[in-house]
């Protein structure tokens, strides 16, 4: 990620700044300020802040980390935004990150990890965590088409991408709970879905944040090879949690990955090289 040159001149972004949108931000803040960096959780396409509010926010706050989750525009209780682009989503993340009292750690899940990767070029995060990252490209599309043709094909023609229960969760998660979560899923905008495949790759991160990649070898959305490639991009190896589905924050053993993230942050990882 450090091979690309820095981009200083951003004529179009200055000339056509992103339209503001009302954003849902859910917070769980520890009772006692322990001077730990705030975490900002960014859900993937179709998910909202609720996905992190379920378990991870409270758990992080319980361990002394102020924890926030946002719903990208058009998701959760944020303002509807059918014409949103990846740039709009990135804007939402950077706006919320900059509004936090201290330099934040960005945690992106699924396609939210791609949004976080873009946001890292616009905001010097304290650190970043990419959970089961869907960083885009045609490989992602191929996997989705192979694993879930019925949910993926309509998306090619502008419908929403539909992920099924087996892709998102392990068999350990009680059926009723899984069904409840799937029923809450929304959809990303059509343009953003396309940009996930065809859009520009993220620019280099500013502020040299350390980056952790984690996921599951049994994830039926992100194959292990993609996890390794994502980690290699940030000069590390992925942290793996076998037996879990794509939605690690909602799956039965949700506690293990979040504890791993918090342990990593407590070790105060060094800034990236370069």
């Amino acid at each position: 990620m450090s091979g690309q040159p820095v981009r200083v001149v951003r004529g179009w972004e200055w000339a056509r700044p992103e339209r503001p949108a009302r954003r849902e931000v859910v917070a769980a803040v520890p009772e006692l300020d322990q001077a730990k960096p705030p975490l900002l959780f960014v859900p993937g396409f179709g998910h909202g802040a609720w996905a992190f509010a379920e378990h991870w926010l409270g758990h992080a706050a319980g361990r002394g980390f102020p924890a926030y989750a946002l719903s990208l525009r058009g998701h959760g209780d944020s303002e509807p935004a059918p014409g949103a682009t990846l740039r709009s989503y990135t804007h939402d993340v950077v706006q919320v990150a900059a509004s936090l009292p201290r330099q934040a750690v960005l945690v992106g899940h699924g396609a939210g990890a791609r949004v976080v990767a873009h946001a890292l070029a616009r905001y010097p995060a304290r650190a970043a965590v990419l959970v089961a990252p869907v960083l885009g490209g045609w490989g992602t599309f191929g996997t989705a088409l192979r694993r879930n043709p019925a949910g993926t094909l309509p998306a090619v023609f502008g419908a929403g991408l539909r992920l099924n229960r087996r892709q998102l969760f392990s068999r350990e998660l009680p059926d009723a709970e899984a069904r409840r979560y799937v029923a809450r899923l929304g959809r990303a905008s059509r343009r953003a879905q396309w940009q996930l495949l065809t859009g520009r790759q993220p620019e280099p991160a500013v502020g040299r944040p350390p980056v952790l990649v984690l996921g599951s070898p049994d994830d039926r959305v992100v194959p292990p090879g993609a996890l390794t490639r994502a980690a290699r991009r940030y000069a590390s190896a992925p942290l793996l949690f076998p037996g879990m589905g794509h939605d690690l924050m909602l799956d039965a053993r949700w506690r293990e990955p979040v504890d791993a993230i918090l342990d990593w942050l407590e070790k105060d990882p060094a800034p990236a090289l370069g």
């Binding site: 040159p5 004529g11 200055w14 700044p17 201290r102």
Partner: protein
């Protein structure tokens, strides 16, 4: 690299200054002078690159010129930004997108305070401490002598690996000389002392100068004073803050992004102004003697409006002052109670010998490359010494990023750092705008797109890309 800690006792191993004063060695720490917008971003970017930083701020808070509680702040009650948010905010710390296009100065101060807290910068700032002297010493290092702003306590000298000058350039008033001004018995002030419209209320006011401040004060006088004359030396283009319902600078940058040539942009600009503002000479304003983009842009939607309502009377340059009257260049006499000189500011680096910045004759115009780097001093940078046709803070950000990378390269790739030094010497005095009027106000004028492009090239060269 050392981190910033308490300044220790003078280090006996370090050679004292030329006049025998003891010196504390601060190792690889970088000294930043000023905790205004430019200083803060320098502290943040140097910390991000792993340097220890000591920042000296003469006031007790951050924000510099934008903290109107500070002695040297030029800000007045109604000051709003002239460039819209995307051109003003730091590139990596956006202003809230529910703020107005042109925020108020109080919002800007809260933005800088939040920036300082968000990146935990205050711990690196020595508040209430002013810099008395900055002297180059061997090994490209710097002796910085400080004392408390009140002048109490002893002076203290510390040796730094590098210095960033971010002391601002809008605090030392530039006062014009006029025949008879000393005898004038009315009230005279520089715009730097103007804080509140109450100062104008019910008075007969003459505002001298057609910069953005002069126009703002003339508009306030139109609403508060019993009479307002606005004296300008030449005709200007008064650009509205909005065109086609959008901030004018965003419309302008749409044309820049489309790479429309300057001549065509000038033509479009003139055409738009003719459609929206109309013929200024009809209002009694002088015809501009230059094309747009050739002087610092004036963004004011209200001046022409108040001229049209008779609340502002445009008048030519002042010829001389009488006892109670002011004679104008066209022979007319007016009788103001209050004269406000909105005649700008001069950059000053009173703690540094002029020749260090290539200003041996003391003209107040340093000769630098990229308005930031001095020949022969690879560990010195001036941040924010620009008069852009847009916001300064993004420029300060990238200048300090470039300097931080240069300092890092001095250790990791000394050859590239040396090549940068040669580039500095070759490029001294380079300009980054089209043709502009020659005046003290315009010698450091830069076009934001040209300048940032030059900075981007310098960054790429430094990175070997």
């Amino acid at each position: 690299m050392s981190s910033s800690t308490d300044l220790g006792r003078p280090d006996p191993a370090v050679a004292p200054t030329a006049d025998g004063r003891p010196v504390s060695d601060r190792g690889d720490t970088v000294c930043v002078i000023g905790a205004g917008a430019s200083g803060l971003t320098a502290v943040k970017n140097l910390r991000e690159a792993g340097f220890g930083v000591d920042c000296y701020e003469r006031e007790t808070g951050v924000g510099g010129a934008w903290n109107w509680r500070h002695d040297r702040s030029p800000v007045y009650a109604s000051t709003h930004l002239i460039s819209s948010r995307p051109f003003t905010q730091f590139p990596d710390f956006p202003m809230p997108d529910d703020w107005p296009d042109y925020p108020h100065h109080a919002q800007l101060l809260s933005y800088f305070e939040r920036y300082a807290d968000h990146f935990d910068l205050r711990q690196h700032v020595w508040f209430g401490t002013e810099v008395v002297r900055v002297e180059p010493v061997e090994g490209d290092r710097w002796d910085v002598t400080t004392r408390s702003t009140g002048g109490y306590g002893p002076e203290r000298t510390s040796r730094y690996a590098a210095v960033v000058l971010a002391n601002g350039h809008n605090w030392s008033p530039k006062l014009p000389r006029y025949e008879g001004l000393e005898q004038f018995r009315g009230e005279v002030m520089h715009a730097s002392s103007y804080k509140d419209p109450a100062q104008l209320r019910g008075k007969r006011v003459l505002v001298v100068g057609a910069g953005n401040t002069g126009c703002d004060i003339a508009v306030e006088a139109a609403q508060q004073a019993s009479r307002c004359w606005h004296s300008t030396r030449r005709g200007y283009w008064y650009a509205p803050k909005y065109v086609f319902g959008r901030p004018a600078d965003q419309v302008n940058d749409t044309l820049l992004a489309l790479r429309v040539p300057l001549r065509v942009r000038q033509w479009l600009y003139h055409w738009t102004l003719r459609l929206t503002v109309g013929d200024l000479t009809r209002f009694g304003l002088p015809r501009p003697d230059h094309r747009v983009y050739e002087t610092h842009p004036i963004a004011n939607s209200q001046l022409v409006y108040y001229v049209g309502h008779g609340e502002v009377t445009p008048v030519p340059d002042v010829a001389r002052f009488g006892d109670r009257t002011v004679e104008l260049a066209d022979g007319r006499e007016i009788d103001p109670d209050l004269v406000v000189f909105a005649t700008g500011y001069l950059p000053r680096f009173e703690f540094l010998e002029g020749r260090v910045l290539g200003d041996a004759d003391g003209s107040g115009r340093p000769r630098l490359w990229l308005n930031a780097f001095a020949a022969g001093h690879p560990t010195l940078a001036v941040v924010g010494l620009v008069q852009p046709d847009s916001g300064i803070f993004p420029i300060s950000h990238w200048q300090s990023v470039l300097f931080a990378r240069l300092l890092t390269l001095r250790t990791t790739h000394p050859d590239r750092a040396a090549a940068f030094g040669r580039r500095v010497t070759a490029g001294l005095g380079e300009r980054y705008s089209g043709k502009v009027k020659d005046s003290t106000r315009h010698w450091f004028e830069v076009g934001h797109a040209d300048y940032l492009r030059a900075l981007q090239r310098a960054l790429h060269d430094l990175e070997g890309k």
